[in-house]
């Protein structure tokens, strides 16, 4: 294992110390329990947004804490859910009297830990609304499994929900707009290579030199199929077809197209993917009204990408365009 780390057991703490050192204008970092909170929290009268999950997906979620997005992020160990004491204290730290929304990706551990945190916060009189993100179409049999996984739509829900909270919407309205994002977004990812969890020291799964995994999860969970590498055009079709057919996205729809790097894939390739995606969607009469391209929900150093499409309406477009000032997303401010 070759990584720019000191000791595997110190990875998360030292990353948090780095974030605190780099962005004192945006965030404060609290240790034991660990959470990253907006520097001016709690904002009185504003609905708070708290998210969290395992580390290793940076910049999600800590890089999205700031004006117009999250109020707090709770990082667990690498690929391990954070514990309820983290979300509970983060919830208290961001509660400005208008209630707190928990944005939870659909993984069994995350769901249960957030649920316990919400119960603790409610027992103290804080209103908490939980929003579950489950946009990964790679999981086909969602009835007999723990359901679809939360992936790319999480980033979009955090941005759009954050904007809704910033403009003074109520707890229920903010939670509902986040749910609307989840309802109208679909994602699918693929891997060119595996990733290595620092504490494990060896790759999470094996992939041959000419093999790719279609439908990969952000923790290296197996996808729909393993196959030989193909040109970008064909890979985009493999990802975008199930996405478009699932919602379904129709001719005349306006979408936000989010092309995400799994961590190891450079922008040069993401733009090639975006170009192919544009052609694919043009062919179906689907218009890209907004886009996001880059590494935003990653899987350590895994090479590969994911595509997320979000069907937009005027309200979602306005909230997407609203100012945001975080370490990883910043415009209008």
């Amino acid at each position: 294992m070759k990584k720019l780390i000191n000791r595997p057991q110190d990875v998360v703490r030292e990353e948090l110390e780095g974030i605190a050192a780099a962005h004192p204008d945006l965030v404060r970092v609290h240790f034991d329990p660990n959470y990253i909170v907006r520097v001016d929290a709690p904002v009185q009268g504003k609905v708070g947004l708290v998210s969290g999950g395992g580390s290793g997906h940076e910049p999600m979620h800590g890089g999205f804490v700031g004006i117009g997005m999250l109020d707090a992020a709770c990082p667990g160990e690498v690929f391990t859910s954070p514990t309820p004491d983290q979300m509970h204290e983060a919830t208290r730290a961001v509660n400005g009297g208008a209630g707190v929304v928990h944005i939870v990706k659909n993984y069994t551990g995350d769901v249960m830990n957030f649920e316990m945190a919400a119960e603790l916060a409610r027992s103290e009189g804080i209103d908490v609304e939980s929003v579950l993100i489950d946009d990964d179409v790679a999981v086909q049999d969602s009835l007999y499994t723990a359901g679809r996984r939360g992936v790319g739509a999480t980033v979009l829900a955090e941005k759009i929900g954050g904007a809704a909270a910033e403009e003074g919407r109520s707890l229920k309205e903010v939670a509902d707009v986040c749910r609307k994002v989840d309802d109208n977004a679909r994602s699918m990812g693929m891997a060119l290579t595996s990733c290595t969890v620092p504490a494990a020291g060896k790759p999470t799964f094996e992939l041959g030199p000419d093999e790719i995994e279609i439908g990969i999860g952000i923790h290296g969970e197996p996808g729909r199929e393993r196959r030989k590498i193909a040109p970008a055009k064909e890979i985009v079709e493999m990802l975008a077809t199930p996405i478009v057919e699932d919602l379904p996205f129709k001719s005349g729809d306006a979408v936000l197209a989010f092309v995400n790097s799994m961590g190891g894939t450079p922008l040069i390739e993401l733009y090639i993917v975006f170009n192919e995606l544009k052609k694919f969607l043009d062919g179906r009469g689907i218009r890209i009204a907004r886009n996001l391209i880059g590494p935003y929900i990653t899987s350590l150093e895994m090479q590969g990408c994911s595509i997320t499409l979000l069907r937009l309406d005027d309200d979602l477009i306005r909230l997407w365009d609203a100012p945001v000032k975080t370490a990883a997303l910043r415009w209008g401010l």
Partner: protein
């Protein structure tokens, strides 16, 4: 003599020991159908719980069990933390204010614990989870006590039922947790959560074998 505060401490210690001994085994079971951390996580949690309860003033079994639960919740992580945390928190609530547990108290505590785990994890019997070991353990204990069996015998029957339940998870297809994504591929593997649950019930039978009915 019934199950005293010190007997409950001995059970927690015995469970921590057996988890430490089976850390690799549980993690190995988990690597087949999960994310290969169950033994490591449970071992970290039980060590932390032991350290926490050492500092408690002895007396209230409810406080003792709640302390174990809260410690597991904040140290285990993943799905095991909330599930085992809830199990002990519910047992603690059932045993609140008690300095000793009569057989009936233990049966009630176990009932509440299983109820809590089901509420938290929303698992049904046959989903290939902890519930598949815990439900038979609860039922066998109830049955044995209703037949007038002494506590030691009832605990033994409870542990035996948990073992059978655990082994019965091998052919099952998982419907909860990360293992569920494997579908049919999850069959043929014993569930790690059912295994650590069997060890918990087994530890009670072993730690309290000398307790009079």
């Amino acid at each position: 003599m019934s199950v005293t505060y010190q007997s409950v401490v001995r059970w927690i210690q015995a469970y921590a020991e057996v988890i430490a001994e089976n850390k690799e085994y549980l993690t190995e079971l988990d690597s087949a159908i999960g994310d290969a951390d169950h033994g490591i996580n449970m071992d970290r949690g039980m060590r932390a719980a032991l350290a926490k309860i050492e500092g408690l003033p002895p007396g209230d079994i409810g406080t003792l069990l709640k302390t174990v639960g809260m410690t597991l919740v904040s140290t285990v992580g993943g799905a095991g933390g909330p599930l085992y945390g809830t199990l002990f928190l519910q047992m603690g609530a059932a045993a609140a204010g008690k300095a000793a547990l009569e057989p009936e108290d233990w049966a009630r505590a176990l009932e509440k614990a299983v109820e809590g785990v089901q509420m938290r994890g929303k698992a049904e019997p046959g989903d290939k989870t902890m519930v598949d070991a815990l439900l038979p353990a609860r039922d066998a204990l109830r049955e044995a006590l209703a037949e007038g069996a002494p506590l030691a015998e009832a605990l033994e029957r409870s542990a035996e039922a948990a073992r059978e339940g655990m082994e019965a998870t091998i052919p099952l297809v998982a419907r909860k947790g990360r293992a569920s994504y494997l579908g049919e591929r999850s069959a043929g593997h014993q569930d790690p959560g059912a295994t650590s649950s069997y060890l918990l019930i087994r530890a009670a039978a072993d730690a309290w074998s000398d307790v009079d009915p």
